[in-house]
Structure formats: C-alpha cells, structure tokens
Symmetry: C2
Subunit: 167 residues, 2 copies
C-alpha cells in the first residue's frame, strides 16, 4: 500500500485536495482509502456511549459496533501502524492520510500565508507545496502548486506515483 | 482467537450476559474483545457525515476517522471475516459477538418466553441456554442457566473454554 499525507493547518484546504486526489486515483481504478486524524478532544463519540462503552467498562480491550457500512472500534491506545495494517488488510492500494504531521510518508503541504512557511522546516519528506495563488513561495527543489488549480495537483501526484515517488 | 456468540431477541438480556462474560474472562487476564451487530437501519452515523463522507463520495473505498480511542471506518460491504481478522490483528484472544445469529460459532442463546423456544431449532452450535427462572426449558443435551444468576454462567463458560469447548 502506498501512502500519501496531506498536511497543513486548519482551513488550509486539506479536504479539497484530499477529495481531488482520491477522485483522480479512483478514476484510474486504484482502490483508494482515506484516514483523517480528528485531532485532540471534541470527537463526536456516538455508538460507544451505549453498549460498547458498557463492554469496555466490563473489561473489553477492544469494543466494536458494526451496522451497515459503519464499523466503529474503541480501544485505549491506537497505534497508527495498526490502523494502516487494517487498510492493507482491506486491500487498499493507495491511502490518503489527512493530518498526522509527525509521520514520515511523502507529503503535500498546504500553506495559507507567509506565517505558515515555517511549517516546511518541521516536516519530513515533502513532495509538493500547495499555496494560494497570491502567496509567493520560493522553492528550487520542491514543486509548488496553486490551491486554485487542484486538478494540476492530482495529475502531478499521479505521475509521481507512477514514477515510484510514493512508497 | 476464540469466539463466543451471545444471541437472542431484543431485551432478552444479551448485554447483561456479555458484560458478565467479558468481566470474567478479563479477570483471568485474557485479552477480550466485543463486537455488537447494531442491526439494520437506525445506526447513529456520526463522524462520517462530515469529511469522511466527502472522501467516500470522491471515490474512497474505505474512509476512516481516528480521534483518541475511537476509530471509525466506512465502506460499502463489510465482510464479517474481515472484522474478525481486525480483532485478531489487535491481539484479542477471546471475542464476544453479540448478535450475528447466522454465524456458526459456539453460542449462548437467551430465551425470554415460551415463544422464543423455537429459536433453538434455527441456530447452529448452541452450547448453553439462558432463560428467566420462571420459564421451563427441557434440554437433555444442552446446559440450561437462569438469567438471574449470571455469575454461574460466566464461570461455566470459562470452564468450557478451558476444556477446549470454544474454538
């Protein structure tokens, strides 16, 4: 399974770019998965407040609920590697990871403004920079794209993938 | 991974018995998991109505959201075997399945009343029958337990597990 990360601060356009890349790769008959990190706190727990929360209190290490297309698993400490293995197990060929800044997979980085440029120095394995047309970003080594032209981005990512640039 | 099913109609006491068995097995330092089938319709979708639903519409075969202890996965056709493999992967040793009447794992069957007795004929691999004290159930081959004494049930299930009766 190949993994692409899409990172950037809030409201930088991550969902727009994710959707664009997902749509492009699935149009090429690649089985695409996505995983979004909801960040800390505030996740709207739903099902597990009922029976599966009771199972957890009784001592279940992993409590799950399945209904139609939704499978929800609750456990104390999720290991990202375990989540990725689940996608592999489900035969996903290309995974779009939104967030997870500290991981080392190839990354598209979204910048909103001048202040965000410092983000580039803190991230590993950046393959592309995406920024609003009005923001100027100097980069001699990493391709820079305009957020306003997402189809150019997904096409380039796909070519990069075909060249073996996403592992 | 050993799997025990707990089946019965609505309000037959499935959650009570699940909790009892989960608590007993985890007190024996066995890593217990639980999986509940929410039934058809009415599952309170939460997170995926936001970004992951957008990812799915864009073409993602599997869209997930993770935040703290909750990992939620959405895909079109869940295969129960895939869900069980996920629990195995998460190192669960003993899985309590609530519902999933058609599966062939060893089962505790809960009966509420005389009418429910017909359920016994439609299920495979029944290892125990649980019924209210006031209901009389005749069974020469399968142990019958009173719902009112759940600790006797979990102790018996554990002994049955130790004897290799749950595969």
């Amino acid at each position: 399974m190949k993994v692409l990360q899409i990172v950037g601060y809030k409201n930088s356009g991550k969902t727009t770019i994710s959707k664009e890349v997902i749509a492009y790769f699935s149009s090429k008959h690649i089985k695409v998965g996505s995983l979004k990190h909801h960040g800390h706190g505030g996740i709207p727990h739903g099902l597990e407040s009922t029976d599966s929360e009771q199972h957890r209190k009784a001592g279940a290490g992993v409590a799950g609920v399945w209904g139609e297309n939704l499978f929800q698993l609750v456990q104390d400490n999720w290991d990202i590697a375990d989540m990725l293995l689940i996608y592999e197990h489900l035969k996903i060929e290309f995974l779009v990871l939104e967030g997870f800044k500290k991981m080392a997979y190839p990354k598209l980085v979204l910048l909103r403004n001048q202040d965000d440029i410092s983000l580039l120095a803190s991230l590993e394995n950046i393959i592309g920079i995406i920024k609003p047309n009005k923001l100027h970003v100097d980069s001699s080594t990493i391709p820079v794209f305009d957020l306003e032209r997402p189809s150019l981005i997904s096409e380039w990512v796909y070519q990069h993938y075909l060249r073996g640039g996403i592992r």
